[in-house]
Amino acid sequence: MSEFLAMGGYGAFVWPCFALAAVVLAWNVRSARRQLALAREQALRRAAAPDRA
């Protein structure tokens, strides 16, 4: 296991790359879902009170 983590001495370069990729992949999913939930909420509020929104 520690050999796997060491990545032949390149662990300090390999793992940050995969960690960054995980962050970007997770952020995009989260952000897209959040945008959709927000837009839906706003649309609902507007539908409930078309004059005020």
């Binding site: 032949g8 960054l20 970007v24 995009n28 945008q35 839906r40 706003q42």
Partner: protein
């Protein structure tokens, strides 16, 4: 020719519904391909005879660099369709694509820099490949900022579409930069013509990651597109019915 299907597809309520139904069909295979690619790339593939285990960075670097260009092309084509045929849905696609592309361009640059340090001895060089990819990031930022700075939606659509289309010039420059100029960057591992310069057990995880990232982009784009449609159609009658 019968164009009814096209107009139907481009109508916001239709697109909203179809995008919602399609997104999981992109998302789940994407997740499985990426997991398989990770296992194949990190565990099964042997170390490279020149680069050792550092070469494994290719499994996130190449797919993110690929997406940085694919997303830009998608955005520019959508922008052109919106501009020429005045299809609002196309502008919505372009608006939805921009932030996705920007994050993957940043990821390609960051993983490239981290890979460059042990292989080239430097995080960054101002050579053609790296500089043109950095310009791509600025183009994304420009498109996003331009859209955000104009209140009127139609004008924002048109202005950012023009910038996105002009920026397409950069795509072939990025692609051919490693052939046109001397560079530290290695040439493409995969080309349409000719054999891939990689052994099979190194290659399939890369292909899985490339396809996985591509499908992932499809899924995220569809979800963002739905949000974009909701924002643009907030006063439409169909939306009231849809949300009720």
């Amino acid at each position: 020719m019968n164009w009814i299907w096209f107009h139907k597809l481009a109508s916001p309520p239709h697109a909203y519904g179809i995008a919602g139904r399609l997104a999981p069909w992109f998302g789940w295979p994407a997740g499985m391909l990426i997991l398989a690619g990770l296992y194949g790339g990190l565990v099964l593939a042997p170390a490279d005879y020149q680069q050792g285990d550092a070469f494994r960075i290719v499994y996130v670097h190449a797919p993110s660099a690929w997406l940085s260009m694919l997303v830009y092309a998608t955005m520019a084509v959508a922008a052109a369709v919106g501009l020429v045929w005045r299809i609002k849905l196309a502008h919505a696609v372009a608006a939805a694509a921009a932030p996705i592309g920007a994050t993957f361009t940043a990821l390609a640059l960051a993983t490239g820099a981290i890979w460059g340090k042990p292989m080239w001895g430097t995080w960054w060089v101002w050579d053609a490949r790296l500089t043109s990819e950095l310009i791509l990031l600025f183009l994304y930022a420009g498109v996003i900022a331009l859209r955000a700075s104009i209140d009127d939606r139609d004008r924002a659509d048109r202005a950012s579409a023009v910038l996105a289309i002009v920026g397409v010039v950069n795509l072939p420059i990025i692609h051919y930069s490693v052939y046109w100029w001397n560079t530290l960057h290695q040439p493409a591992t995969l080309t349409k013509l000719g054999k891939p310069s990689m052994a099979g057990d190194m290659l399939w995880p890369l292909l899985a990651m490339l396809l996985g990232f591509t499908l992932y982009f499809g899924a995220v784009l569809l979800v963002r597109l739905r949000a974009e449609i909701l924002r643009r159609e907030r006063d439409a009658a169909w939306l009231r019915a849809e949300l009720a």
